[in-house]
């Protein structure tokens, strides 16, 4: 599995946006992952704790929002969740659209701001 390289990409994106926002630390990272994508939450979390160690994201929490898979039949319009059998359960057609479940992005981060910013605002 490629959870390590995926986790490195997540860290790269989080650190880049954290820097831009003047973060002293990144405390939370919010991920949106479709059910049909093959990423395993636990191994991302495992690598995350490892590779964030000496970064501003050390000790941060990962939040996974799973989007359920949703298919729709182009023949009869029936929409359903993927099971073992992919063809439309209503009419048996094999002409289907994937409406949801393939998402894979970083939605937001929560940061603690730098001391200077904190002084100015408090």
């Amino acid at each position: 599995m490629h959870e390590l390289s995926v986790t490195e990409s997540i860290l790269e994106i989080a650190l880049r946006h954290g820097r831009k926002a003047g973060a002293a630390a990144i405390t939370d990272v919010f991920l949106v992952i479709g059910e049909l994508s093959t990423i395993v939450d636990e191994s991302v979390q495992f690598y995350w704790d490892m590779i964030t160690e000496d970064t501003p994201a050390a000790g941060s929490r990962l939040h996974f929002q799973r989007i359920p898979g949703r298919l729709s039949c182009r023949t009869c319009g029936y929409s359903y969740s993927p099971r073992e059998d992919l063809p439309c359960p209503a009419c048996g057609s094999i002409d289907i659209d994937i409406l949801a479940g393939e998402e894979f992005y970083l939605e937001a981060i929560e940061i603690a701001e730098t001391r200077e910013t904190e002084k100015q605002t408090t």
Partner: protein
């Protein structure tokens, strides 16, 4: 401590996608047509490459990039068949990514290549997530793997432009329901070009080679191809 929520909304494979676009532009500019072979371990990617190189090297200038976790066995086989071959060792990674293909392209003289075949790491899950920038992807399935693979690995079947079903010489010995297999494949990828072959007996290879030549002539520097 002040905390703040910063919206990001960035695709996690975005960096790879950008590099893949660079690779694609580079291949386009050089007039190289490129195929990405994906399959489970042992399905016959290297065997199909050997056959393709043997039959087409009189017509096309071929190069092969071979992704392998540790050895150079596959690249050696492609070279022995007559192709220019570059080996990428992924160092344990389960897939090639756009950065790896980029460094392989650095080792090739693209101006003397008509067709580049990339052999991805044998794996039905991971390579599908990492675009390389190649023109088309080919899934090499094989009879002994079983007819349920489209149902179990939908991601692998969804993003490809051709499906080769290899080892059809084994059909008499294996429970493989071709109709069930193809129903799954076309549910995931309607209209997918599907070519049953045997790299052992040579059955079906003509249809495969025809598909390849057709692709190169419509997408690559077609006017220069000698037809024999």
């Amino acid at each position: 401590m002040i905390t703040e929520r910063v919206p990001v909304v960035e695709k996690i494979f975005g960096a790879n996608d950008r590099l893949a676009a660079d690779n694609h532009a580079r291949l386009e500019a050089a007039g190289v047509f490129s195929l990405n072979f994906m399959a489970s371990p042992g399905a016959g990617k290297t065997s199909l490459i050997e056959q393709t190189v043997r039959h087409l090297s009189g017509q096309l200038r071929l190069a092969v990039v071979d992704g392998d976790i540790a050895t150079s066995l596959d690249a050696d086989r492609a070279a022995a068949a007559g192709a220019v071959a570059v080996q990428i060792n992924t160092g344990g990674d389960c897939h090639l990514d756009a950065a790896m293909l980029q460094s392989a392209l650095d080792e090739l003289d693209l101006s003397v290549i008509d067709l580049l075949i990339v052999e991805n790491v044998g794996n039905l899950v991971c390579p599908a997530n990492f675009s390389l920038g190649t023109h088309k992807s080919v899934l090499v399935a094989s009879v002994p793997e079983g007819d349920d693979k489209p149902y179990k690995y939908p991601g692998a079947y969804r993003g490809v432009q051709a499906l080769v079903i290899n080892k059809i010489d084994l059909l008499p010995y294996v429970n493989f329901d071709m109709e069930y297999f193809q129903r799954g494949a076309s549910a995931l990828n309607p209209g997918l070009a599907t070519i049953p072959v045997s790299c052992r007996t040579g059955d079906g290879l003509d249809a495969w080679l025809e598909w390849v030549v057709e692709q190169v002539s419509t997408n690559g520097r077609g006017h220069e191809i000698r037809r024999i």
